[in-house]
């Protein structure tokens, strides 16, 4: 068991805003080992991006944070408004078009970290960039080295972003919905690329998305995030096979399953809570069909059911009987 590359212990992040303090992350803990891929699933507004920014050490200036994050056992500073990311962590964003500097050639953007962070000479940095471009599957990298972002397709731009993420020789790559903006065929290539990179370079990957199918395809373990906290964590088979939290159950039911024809989709009633005025108790209670009075107060943090799975639902056993509306595709 190699030491986990990423250790997050009871992370809290609060953002001050005109409407009051937003509790974006409320006590999140998880680990990711080298070479592993961990998925974080949740609807928008669940605080997943703030979590990523915290790991990067780039919290906004109006943020205050508690708890600890360590990357390859080095503490990540949690102060808001820092200008420089912490070493060993890279990120791949959702919108390739806006995440690349429009006025600088892509080759230069890839060779920038090797040159200025790792101190390589101009020649070596260029070769390193070309190597990375080949690694992420960009054909004829020499010609495309001097292209500008607007001259590339969505898919290629995303590959450039991935090359950039790798260029700083990170220990862990954070992916914030990297394939959402791409069409399905390109999405599939990118996902296979991530898996190959993870195997070849041993880099850990945290994959944040609202798309359960993508997580099922690429990740070994997954956490379900809701209202700034993890409601359920565990291996893919456990969490998708035997969901032990009503929210996970709801998410799985909301995924259209093409192979089974027209099965009725069951949407989760209501909408995610306002992170400013969070009442006590289980944050999912207002939308939970299994909710009881005892769910209304007390702190609901993850408790481990077994080696493969933990949940924040106190009535998880009530779900043990009911299988999800249908079998999740085992990846």
């Amino acid at each position: 068991m190699t030491a986990p590359v990423l250790q997050v212990r009871d992370l809290q992040v609060r953002l001050s805003s005109p409407r009051g303090v937003v509790h974006a992350v409320r006590g999140v803990s998880f680990d990711v080992e080298a070479g592993h891929t961990h998925g974080i699933v949740g609807e928008s507004g669940s605080g997943k991006t703030t979590l990523l920014r915290a790991i990067l050490g780039l919290l906004p200036s109006n943020a205050t944070a508690g708890g600890t994050i360590s990357v390859s056992s080095r503490q990540v500073p949690l102060a808001g408004g820092r200008a420089k990311a912490v070493d060993g962590v890279s990120i791949v964003f959702q919108e390739p078009m806006t995440a690349l500097n429009p006025v600088v050639r892509v080759g230069l953007q890839i060779s920038e970290a090797p040159r200025f962070k790792l101190g390589l000479g101009r020649r070596d940095a260029r070769n390193r960039a070309l190597e990375l471009m080949r690694l992420v599957g960009i054909p004829d990298p020499v010609r495309r080295f001097d292209a500008y972002p607007h001259e590339l397709s969505g898919g290629f731009s995303q590959r450039v972003l991935i090359a950039i993420a790798l260029s700083a020789e990170p220990k862990i790559i954070l992916c914030d919905e990297p394939t959402t903006a791409l069409d399905v065929t390109v999405q599939d290539q990118i996902l296979k690329l991530f898996r190959r990179i993870s195997e070849e370079t041993g880099v850990a990957i945290v994959y944040v998305t609202h798309d359960l199918a993508v997580v099922a395809q690429t990740c070994r373990t997954v956490s379900v995030m809701y209202a700034g906290q993890f409601l359920e964590s565990g291996t893919i088979d456990a969490v998708f096979g035997r969901p032990r939290h009503p929210y996970t159950l709801g998410l799985l039911a909301a995924v259209p399953d093409v192979s089974h024809g027209r099965t009725p989709l069951v949407a989760i009633p209501g909408s995610p809570p306002d992170l400013v005025s969070l009442a006590g108790g289980c944050p999912f209670l207002p939308r939970c069909s299994y909710g009881r009075e005892e769910c209304a107060d007390g702190v609901f943090s993850l408790r481990s059911l077994n080696r493969h799975q933990s949940t924040a639902c106190i009535r998880s056993d009530a779900l043990s009987g009911s299988a999800p509306a249908r079998e999740a595709e085992a990846s």
Binding site: S17, P18, A24, T49, T50, N62, A99, D176
Partner: protein, 280 residues
């Protein structure tokens, strides 16, 4: 990374900006009040010469001293505010209206109208402005009318360019398509739908334009084409103080500072408006 947290921080920042609107209007209010209450604030007549006390330094009875004809500088400063504010605001209205209208029409219809308006704006851009001013002052004589006309002839160019750009981009928006499908007349679409959305730019521009015009009058007075004596105006005060800069520097400086303060208040208002009107 457009995460809720980031837009949250942007809103936080924007909230604070409303101060500039308050400070701006406050400052302007003080100036306008001082101009209106001038007769009660200072006992002197802005036009009365007192040839025995010319170029007196600031003292208890003359707060800012006297000018080269013995007139009280503080009094003239207050009465001048009336004229210069009038000129500043007045000379902006016509260019604002013509410019916005022409810009909207050019942006909306494009084609020959757009070409004509753009040609006109390009031509005026390259026009030696003060040849026009002098020609006007020759034919109409110096004073406020020629300033207004000169500004009206040249100043609309910027408004036209700004509004044209905004309307061009607005034209492609869905809400315009929708309005068209509902069969509204072009005029109605422009006036009731497009303009309200794009009006922030020309309005805030007008704010800085007022300052520019007041300073412009200063330059005209320096050229001897400004407001004819003896009416007090900051421009002629600065210009006539110019030859006393090394001995009585306050004669030129103080009206200059007055212009700056007015400029500041209008630009703060402009900033405040920009953020208040700009859709979130």
């Amino acid at each position: 990374m457009t995460t809720p947290s980031r837009s949250e921080s942007r809103k936080a920042v924007r909230g604070r900006r409303s101060y500039s609107l308050m400070i701006g209007t406050g400052l302007l209010g003080v100036i306008v009040l001082a101009a209106i209450l001038a007769p009660w604030i200072t006992p002197y007549d802005p036009l009365a010469h007192d040839l025995d006390t010319i170029l007196a330094p600031p003292s208890s009875d003359h707060l800012l001293g006297t000018d080269h004809l013995g007139r009280d500088v503080w009094t003239r400063l207050l009465y001048a505010a009336r004229l210069d504010l009038l000129i500043g605001v007045g000379a902006v209205i016509t260019p604002f209206l013509t410019g916005t209208l022409l810009g909207a029409v050019a942006g909306y219809y494009g084609g020959r109208i757009d070409l004509a308006v753009s040609a006109a704006t390009d031509m005026l851009m390259a026009f030696p402005y003060y040849v026009l001013i002098i020609a006007l002052v020759f034919s109409l004589g110096p004073g406020i009318p020629s300033i207004f006309i000169a500004m009206a002839i040249v100043a609309w160019v910027s408004y036209a360019r700004i509004v044209r750009g905004e309307v061009l981009s607005a034209r492609g928006q869905q809400y315009v398509m929708a309005a068209k499908t509902l069969g509204y007349t072009d005029l109605r679409i422009i006036v009731r739908h497009i303009l309200p959305n794009v009006i922030t730019q020309p309005v805030t521009y007008a704010m800085s334009d007022i300052v520019v015009i007041i300073v412009g009058v200063v330059t005209l007075s320096y050229l001897g084409l400004g407001v004819p004596p003896p009416t007090p105006d900051w421009g002629s005060m600065i210009a006539s103080g110019q030859s006393f800069m090394t001995t009585q520097w306050q004669l030129s400086t103080i009206p200059g500072i007055a212009v700056v303060i007015v400029g500041l208040s209008f630009s703060l208002i402009g900033d405040g408006l920009t953020h208040r009107l700009r859709p979130e």
